[in-house]
Subunit: 259 residues, 2 copies
């Protein structure tokens, strides 16, 4: 059961790492599109094209049996299209996050934060309301969170200022649950908790692993291969922390989609 994972960049390594630990026997192929990161401030058309190219690379080369779209922006815009093109299960980060949020909310008021593109797509909001039309959903784009995380300013004064500036407005609506709609945001979880200790914080990557565990891995010890479109300094910084010995391979994506 080879698993393919792609993300716009380094953020998805947190998803890779959770799956790696939970499913040691599965083969895992990760692609970070670091040459074109970030996706979050690009148009839907471009996000869909890039997602198809990433999926095509994993599908054509490694005959993956399941595709995990670790990027919230790509999940929000391209999961349905990928499901149409591919003959294998496609797991985005939106649905698992939505299911978890509906499980933990007590008052039915749910906040969603993400990139501009994710929030503009209303993917979380639509999915939440489809599953429970009585919940109230409050969305907020937090565009500075990604650069703050990439700079490692997790507990810096400016981070706390921006947390309040972005979140106070939706906290004032009475939300008791907050969905982190971006793979970078789990690194800010503790800082958000410090400002708003009463919030239940939902991190989709944790839920995805539960979904994947339902599969039956076949092999003793799975293969691990990690690809990037640019071996960028940001990736190099994180790979030593997360990839423990897996060699990173640089590839060029074909712009001809075969799927």
């Amino acid at each position: 059961m080879p698993i393919g994972i792609f993300d716009s960049g380094v953020g998805g390594l947190t998803v890779y790492s959770s799956i790696d630990r939970a499913l040691p026997n599965s083969d895992i192929y990760y692609l970070g599109d670091t040459a074109r990161v970030p996706y979050g401030n690009k148009s839907k058309e471009t996000i869909v094209r890039y997602s198809l190219e990433c999926a095509s690379f994993l599908f054509e080369n490694f005959k993956i049996d399941i595709l995990v779209v670790a990027c919230n922006t790509a999940s929000s815009h391209a999961v349905d299209i990928l499901k149409n093109y591919l003959s294998i299960p496609v797991i985005g980060v939106v649905e698992p996050g939505v299911e978890q949020a509906l499980k933990v909310t007590k008052n039915g008021k749910i906040g969603v934060i993400g990139t501009y593109a994710t929030i503009r797509s209303k993917s979380y909001k639509k999915n939440l309301l489809e599953k429970n039309k009585d919940v109230e959903v409050y969305q907020k784009p937090c565009p500075l969170f990604v650069p703050l995380v990439e700079e490692g300013l997790l507990e810096h004064p400016v981070t706390f200022i921006m947390i309040e500036e972005y979140l106070q407005e939706i906290v004032d609506k009475g939300i008791d649950t907050l969905i982190l709609g971006c793979t970078h945001y789990p690194l800010l979880k503790e800082s958000i908790k410090r400002v708003y200790p009463h919030l239940e914080i939902v991190d989709s990557s944790e839920v995805i692993v539960e979904k994947l565990k339902e599969l039956n891995p076949l092999k003793e010890k799975g293969i691990r291969r990690v690809f990037v479109t640019d071996h960028s300094p940001a990736f190099i910084k994180l790979e030593n922390l997360i990839l423990s010995g897996v060699k990173v391979e640089k590839i060029e994506l074909s712009e001809v989609c075969k799927i």
Copy 2:
């Protein structure tokens, strides 16, 4: 004398705008590589490839007679390579900035700020020392400035905190001149001035126009065409402000370089 300008994204529109006003009779072709922006946190190899693709598009399609590399990151890594490949003058932003800084500094202590990739390349430092081996150069990457500008937080408290955090260290070295080594930074000029009123601030785009004015434009009223690789929300936001009526055309870059 058709002029080609390229930038990784929207930042170069400030250069476009200066040239547009100063040389109304020249034909101007602008390309913003918005589908792959930003360049500043990518590797040299990828920055060079992207720069060649952008230059190739302008050169093959519009027979430009001069190429302006409006992006500091691309200027720092790719101008020499572009000069080798192209048979026309190539103007980056580094040299004009360096000449201006050497003109205005009184004590010979010069600060340079830019993206990680620009600072890592040491392009400004090398160029300054080649022209005057007695100057002292202090460099500092300011990676959060681009997202702060793109979010329009030009006078936000977090912007002032980051200005001090990034600049105090090089100001303490006694610099009297600061080169803005990124096309986004001129928008922070006033805020930097407010914190450090004694600094002479050098904005390369102003100097480039002087260089171009030495050309003799041939036509009555020049053509204006603006291309992007992604019609992203960030570009749409700025085009109304700067492009007054010029239609933006979306293109796909060929990954086959003809130059």
